[in-house]
Symmetry: C2
Subunit: 387 residues, 2 copies
């Protein structure tokens, strides 16, 4: 198979060879986190970056980003508390989940958080009651293609409703700060942001006519990590986004924010796994089934629907290969990683071999089940500069 | 919507009303576990019942079943240790996961486990090395329709290969005990077992001709719990299975085993959840989105693909209803419970209302993510006789 020429990054490989941690586990290189954060900054100059904590909530990762001056996009009170414990200032935190209880808003407000997403009147009323005077931005529901893990219609509201709600926010004593949208995670098309930027500009104009001046354009997430399918380089995304902002906002340039998660931590992590078994199902099917000690319920949740196709490094790379079906270790029929996506792995692969799954730093460990089939969650080991 | 006439079971409702535990949580009534276990015994008289620990590994549930004389189907060393800690004897444990490391087999053998599933030559060789003399049964790959969570091709091997492997087991000094198969979980068709029973009988005959006498027919799991879609009563399954065994095995009746999980604990549990938000997406879409504090990543994993459609009890049942989309609390676009399955819920439903999700005792709590989006795993409260 094509690994894009890359093996396991040297610093992580050295750690694994030296420490031999029990598998499965994720190793995150904090120096790579720094590098990728700098890459995103360079691609989106001037944008305020809110790290999407959900991508990898390892305390060490958050601490490094605090040191780099990042802001934080959180989804829950526990993520707020995590950021604060790692030294983040409350004014760097955006509570970007439009689905929250009144009690969760109150928790955030008591912790000093003053920036919130919303997409419904009910949430807005809760915000006015529990976080009076807070800055709020409305999430737009947009339709975009090209994401490997699209959002569907769960978040956001139509632009006409968004405009009404932002005016309503001002009436409720909140600060109507701007709009956000999300093009879906692991977005492969740099042009995908344009639809949201155009809708955002429409909302800016619509509410300006009603006396409300918005300032924030939040581009959400979507910037990619490096999986099997190649994506354009980050600067290509940056250029497409900047040009779209200029096209739709003209001289009236808004404050720009983004919520990168995968692009910051994805490539910084390697998931080391062990081959549990290699077998065949019958005498007339040449496919080998390769069972790993990691699967959809203890690290590879994003293999649902084969959305994310990771790159694999085996000890036998370079030797003859054949088609495989890759599956996890549980007694669950859905715990199959790749059946349609074509993977060819070395014929020499055996039980006990160790495989490195590259770019596994995002959306792996925190997704893992607490005890499904008795398998433990995936541990994370951080290496490199700790801020 | 149709709840099948049932509300929240009285004992669980009384506990919830009295204790007001934080939501979301699952409450399991151990008296119902006893009753359902007795129901399965009655449906399959004479069969040895191995409780599928993965369905609900709450220690209290395992302890009650130890007290009732159950055996246990486990998927991992941690499930073995859990059963032993709750008083199970090692000879009541079946390591039914055909995907296991040599070190996991060694762990099981050291703990006294002497019964193992397998479906590949490699696993068989590991068993011979690490669990010499153990009783082993071969899992057959069968094709069956009608399961709400089918197994696909992940487990088992074709019957010709199974026969060869069972003969090989004897050569390796293992005890070739029998065969197993699985019709898929929440199997709605009582006739689905017949294909597997027929294949099992074929294997019994094929290896008998080669001098190996098998004794065990393991029917796996598949017996249902009570969700929105009605299923036949357990005695209907029992009758269909008994008749199929008689048809294919004749006078040469094997020892029969089954691995019920969902049928024992599913109906014993209620998941109490709170409505986080009710909203609309635009002025021209009448669907309300109802967001709950439980979703696919903290309890309702089996809503993947809308496989399991639970029954809901709301405080406004009986009032006028309208269509809803049901979703979970995370910032994840896939954390939507039902979009295609038609649910109509009361128009009076509001944020803060509590909803009971019935028959949520199986495959909920242990599936939950350890920290996805900062949401905690789902806690379980057990009530009733503790054996």
């Amino acid at each position: 198979m094509d690994h894009g020429g890359a093996g396991t990054p040297a610093r992580i490989r050295e750690f694994l060879d030296r420490e031999r941690p029990a598998t499965p586990c994720v190793v995150v290189d904090l120096d790579t986190v720094r590098e990728r954060y700098a890459d995103v900054r360079e691609a989106l100059p001037g944008a305020r970056l809110f790290y999407a904590v959900k991508a990898n909530p390892a305390p060490e990762v958050v601490r490094v980003l605090v040191g780099l001056g990042a802001s934080f996009d959180v989804a829950s009170p526990a993520e707020i508390d995590l950021c604060l414990a790692q030294g983040a200032a409350p004014e760097t935190i955006s509570y970007s989940n439009p689905i929250k209880k009144r009690s969760e808003i109150a928790h955030a407000h008591a912790a000093g958080v003053r920036l919130f997403a919303f997409d419904s009147e009910q949430d807005l009323e809760h915000l006015a009651a529990e976080a009076p005077g807070a800055s709020v931005f409305c999430r737009l529901l947009i339709h975009s293609e090209g994401a490997r893990t699209p959002f569907g219609k769960k978040f956001g509201c139509a632009r006409e409703m968004a405009a009404d709600l932002l005016v309503r926010a001002a009436e409720l004593g909140l600060d109507p700060y701007g709009v956000s949208f999300h093009v879906g995670s692991q977005q492969t098309d740099p042009a995908a942001w344009e639809v949201g930027i155009a809708d955002a500009a429409w909302v800016f104009r619509a509410v300006a006519e009603r006396g409300v001046r918005l300032r924030l354009l939040n581009l959400g997430g979507g910037l990619p990590a490096s999986y099997l399918e190649a994506t354009p380089a980050l600067p290509v995304y940056g250029k497409a986004i900047r040009e779209a902002v200029a096209r739709h906002f003209g001289a009236d340039v808004p404050e720009v924010a983004a919520e990168p998660g995968r692009a910051v931590v994805g490539d910084a992590g390697v998931l080391r796994t062990e081959v549990v078994l290699v077998s065949r199902k019958s005498y007339d099917d040449d496919h080998r089934w390769v069972y790993l000690d990691t699967g959809r319920y203890n690290g590879l949740a994003e293999c649902e629907g084969e959305a994310i196709a990771y790159r694999f490094v085996t000890p036998h790379d370079g030797g003859p290969v054949g088609p495989v079906v890759l599956a996890g270790p549980t007694c669950d029929g859905d715990d199959v990683l790749y059946q349609r996506t074509v993977y060819e792995l070395p014929l020499a692969l055996r039980a006990g071999d160790q495989i490195d799954i590259l770019s596994a730093g995002a959306y792996t460990a925190s997704f893992a089940s607490v005890f499904f089939n008795g398998f433990a969650p995936l541990p994370t080991h951080c290496i490199g500069a700790r801020g």
